[in-house]
Subunit: 523 residues, 2 copies
């Protein structure tokens, strides 16, 4: 056995595990030669197992090797508790040696993380057209318990199948939270039985998300150990609520329609929110519920004569009005039995959150320090903006665009934080959707977001770009063979299985005769 | 009739035509209701027509409208000369009015440009699920006669079908040159019968390009009026030649293998090049042949003892050696009846090109001025680097990555050039392939390269980003409905035909029972 050093990364696995001991063997395997047995019965785990068994061998034609190696991976799970909430135990250990194939974990979710690692240890050799299983002993657990990814379903409509496809890619990367940004200024795609006119604000025909679809998404995500947290962004970014229900909006003539927030002074606003949230929240299983709160155009409130009167009566300034709004949200959260997540903006307006609020810091590191100084728990996302040309202002511009993955990789959530760093629970990659639809989603997100998934899972000591690069490139190829359109980071060769649905073809097939005629070749 | 003003762009066509007169009618059309008749018989044109007829109506189910409007587009072409070379006449005129559907051009290639415009005038209404044909009179021609696109087939291997798919996307954008960067340091995928060991330098099994495949690519491109120009980059970027034929390379110990150029002192080098180019050139029909010449590590020559001796004997410095190399290339070009294109680097080394050389300026605008001052004809590409995080050093960083299309759009090839500007024949978009494979090609290139295609075709007066944006966004949606993975530039709604091969699906289909079991729902 050879113990891996901090400056060596001999195992081709992403995100890199916490402790790796390489074992000097390589076990030839053939499609169909790996079975998996678990000590507990779980529908959720069995779906995960079934899925991985389909992913182990992307190529199955004329594979070289003999079928004498029958491998049974034995999964041993300590607890059959399937609860999936913040802090769930995702640790696992793997021992792969000649004749020994063991995966141990405390929960089914830890077992899933181990299955992903095991999958990546089945290495395909494109020259030999053969597979081998890498031997190693691994002890692994996440550095951060919150490893989120924001999916924006408002700026572009994503079908249920596309969201499930995205969840596949998140699962492969050991992300464990899908932050589902469901509505925004431009659209309100979520169907409501209580308030059916909300979906008058959709981008186009059938661009809606039904309750059944939400349940499928939540269930599917659970088979990857991914918590799904909805965001309903209020009181700003909320003008879409007003398409069907204009009485919900403030009235500030002269302001662009897109910047008009909810009316904070009208008790009906809160009744509406409570009714709607009470309808929607039970579709999600997570303790947390995201109520947004970013980029409120507070001057609209100041210019609404009715809100002005109310503020005068209450002896409020706009900051107090925002405080009142957040306090009402807290009451609603209690009534629907959820904990609030809010973007950090309100703090800049002088608002104080309930101490149980989880603050999502999206602006910058100085604001993060403010959040921490005030004692809140937080998650950070300002390092991880996948839509930006320059992911944040701290870095030089790379020559090549995809090398921005290195910026993410360099950005530990606790980077340059000295006080209350333990209150940073993790981070979230954000893929805001102005310029991304199903058409270009994968290629925009991947492989760059691998820099985020490894940063949030692996040890902070695993941070050398040069060492990571070949692993990340190989994993990107692996992902593309699973159907995720994740491109390369350097010249390499990654042929895909023929049957993959995104093999691109010309729109017209020239016959040999046509070629000859076009080139006026002699017959 | 309403004449369009320079500051109005009422026609939703990309690239925007030179002269547009809107006619106030809109003709409802149904799938199958448009036929096309041409006054000349041409296999090339008939393939183009057949292809467009398949593209006119991406959706065919339950289309709303009546089928009384039978439309026959009448194509009238002045000449049946199918020669496709620099300067080919691509002008056309279109008159679409109630009962009048005329496309006129001087060549079949002009007719193809008109067909693309006509295709874009068939507008699909996603809300009504109906089609209508826009009425207008159009006179159109390209501002630049060289509108090229560099496809790098060396850093990643692109299959023949992928190259044809790329040609589809170039044709839709009225590009007229595919600059095929076929080999580079990392790989030599082009098969040779004369020198079969050249393809020992391939990226992986079967990653080769055969003569038959080259012919198909040339023929297919011709059906879009796209000239295909091969680049064999010498004497730098050439170490791949040495995998099978090490005697071709200089010998400079201590230099990275990837930077070793061809040996300029060995007469066999030139015999080899002449034999190989004589074998390859006839597969291409274009008058031009690109011999590269960029980023030569000339110090390697200075450190090769054998080259040192030769230079001493010839009384050469390294610059003279480079001059000698380029002069030998000119002799070979004459023997294979081709005109040379070369990157501008040699000029920086003091080399003088043959006056017939077309110089491709890739470095910067100051070097472009040097090229022009020396009297060469040139094409520019330094504005149009699709791989870069910041396309060039002249622009501010945008917030969103895709907005880099605006940098391309702002960059007329003759921008800030006052002398000999007429010698700039046009420009070339470059998609160097370090970080792009078939998996992410489309989403990396499009819709950003639309900024280049319109810049090179349309009038320089058509340069307002705000006016262009809705057209470009709509065209990007149109492209995605034709199978090009071109994403959005702003929130919009662009559903795709179900049968499109890149509709992404999850890897596992949950049954309803499984959803209920996972969510522990009561039955």
């Amino acid at each position: 056995m050879v113990l891996s050093q901090p400056n060596e990364q001999p195992l081709n696995v992403v995100p890199y595990p916490q402790e790796v001991t390489m074992i000097s063997c390589n076990i030839p395997v053939l499609p169909g030669s790996i079975t998996i047995k678990s000590n507990i019965e779980s529908v959720i785990l069995s779906i995960s197992i079934s899925r991985y068994q389909n992913l182990f061998f992307p190529f199955t034609k004329n594979i070289v090797g003999d079928d004498s190696n029958k491998i049974e991976l034995s999964i041993s799970i300590a607890s059959d508790d399937e609860t999936l909430q913040l802090g769930v135990d995702e640790s696992y250990s793997l021992l792969i040696d000649q004749g020994t194939y063991q995966l141990k974990s405390n929960t089914i979710y830890g077992a899933m993380r181990g299955l992903e690692t095991f999958k990546q240890m089945i290495v395909y050799d494109v020259v030999k057209n053969s597979y081998s299983l890498t031997c190693a002993e691994i002890m692994d657990f996440p550095t951060y318990q919150w490893r989120g990814f924001l999916v924006d379903n408002a700026r572009h409509y994503l079908t249920k199948d596309m969201v499930l496809h995205i969840i596949d890619s998140l699962g492969y990367n050991k992300f464990n939270v899908m932050h589902w940004h469901l509505i925004d200024t431009v659209a309100f795609p979520v169907e409501s039985k209580t308030y059916p006119k909300l979906t008058e604000a959709i981008l186009g025909p059938h661009a809606t998300i039904s309750h059944d679809e939400i349940e499928i998404v939540v269930a599917y995500a659970k088979t990857y150990g991914i918590r799904v947290i909805p965001e309903f962004d209020v009181p700003g970014h909320s003008s879409s609520w007003g398409v069907g229900y204009p009485e919900l909006l403030a009235n500030c003539p002269g302001f662009p329609a897109s910047s008009v927030p909810l009316d904070c002074s009208n008790p009906n606003t809160y009744t509406f929110l409570e009714n709607f949230f009470s309808e929607i929240a039970p579709l999600f299983e997570d303790d947390y519920f995201h109520t947004g709160g970013d980029e409120l155009v507070i001057d609209c409130w100041a210019n609404d004569t009715s809100i002005q009167k109310w503020m005068k009566k209450m002896n409020y300034n706009t900051s107090d009005a925002f405080q009142y709004f957040e306090d009402q949200l807290d009451i609603i959260m209690t009534s629907i039995n959820r904990k609030k997540i809010a973007w950090n903006d309100a703090l800049q307006h002088g608002v104080k959150f309930n101490e149980n609020t989880l603050v999502q810091t999206w602006t910058n590191i100085n604001d993060l320090r403010v959040v921490l100084a005030a004692g809140y728990k937080t998650i950070t996302s300002f390092f991880y903006y996948l839509d930006r040309q320059s992911p944040d202002g701290y870095y030089d511009i790379h020559y090549e665009w995809q090398d921005t993955w290195q910026d993410f990789y360099a950005s530990d959530p606790r980077l340059n934080i000295t006080s209350n760093a333990e209150n940073i629970l993790g981070g979230e990659a954000t893929m805001f959707g102005e310029q991304v639809s199903s058409v270009n989603w994968d290629a925009r997100v991947w492989p760059r977001a691998i820099g985020i998934s490894e940063r949030l899972w692996s040890s902070t000591e695993i941070n050398n770009v040069t060492l990571a690069l070949p692993r990340v490139g190989q994993f990107s190829c692996d992902m593309s063979r699973r159907g995720i359109l994740s491109g390369p980071l350097f010249p390499d060769y990654c042929p895909l299985p023929e049957e993959l649905s995104f093999s691109l073809k010309p729109v017209y097939q020239l016959s040999k005769d046509e070629v000859n005629l076009i080139l006026k070749k002699k017959f």
